[in-house]
Symmetry: C2
Subunit: 136 residues, 2 copies
């Protein structure tokens, strides 16, 4: 599979699909580095802008992380801590805004759980390392 210039799907979205598939298939192993933006651009025959936009999409999906000066990395699946919910709890999910994301030290593309306890307190948990369970 490669980039189809005549497709109505934008180049950077096609590229994101290709890279995502490469991650799923193991071509780009979890925890490992992706090729540099320049390399990806050359390998797939697209501009650097398309590469950066594709990576931005994958970051927003929580699939890759990028740090300045380093090649992007495939985000490994994290161990999830089991949190037991209690009777009367209510849970909503949402994305943190940027300041909140910074405070909580979360990567891009990581949702949060808000657990509303019966006593009115609200517990905020990162959804990428949490599994909520309902006791029997």
């Amino acid at each position: 599979m490669s980039i189809d210039r005549r497709s109505h799907t934008p180049v950077y979205r096609q590229l994101a699909n290709l890279i995502r598939e490469g991650i799923r298939s193991g071509q780009y192993p979890a925890g490992g580095f992706l090729p540099s933006e320049a390399t990806l651009a050359q390998e797939y025959g697209v501009g650097r802008d398309a590469v950066r936009k594709a990576l931005a999409l994958l970051r927003a999906e929580g699939r890759v992380t990028t740090e300045r000066g380093e090649r992007s990395r495939v985000r490994p699946e994290l161990e999830r801590v089991e949190i037991q919910l209690s009777a009367g709890d209510a849970v909503i999910g949402r994305m943190p805004d940027e300041p909140e994301r910074g405070r909580l030290g979360l990567d891009e593309g990581v949702p949060i759980f808000e657990i509303h306890h019966r006593d009115g307190t609200i517990e905020v948990l990162p959804a990428d390392r949490t599994k909520l369970t309902v006791p029997a």
Copy 2:
């Protein structure tokens, strides 16, 4: 408050903060349209690129939606349907990837709940219109 060119915080992030605050304060009412990109660029004295990046941040947070040919809109808080969890259920939260997001008809910046039932079935729900509850 306005853009500080000497700040280390990038212009587009400062602008996202300003618009987010404008949404929170009611200057940009929920469900209403934001000014056009060109207008925002002129009003805040930044390039269109900075405006588009700021809007992209807010979209990824689920705060605004954008459709081609139309000005961006402040995403209203949706009514949440209450879903009762059952004993033995487990819940994780994650972002959908792009194809999945299209299939489910979700806006950007909307996480999904995966409810793993005791019988092995998995229920996928949009987190922006769902509230999970634990029965007493």
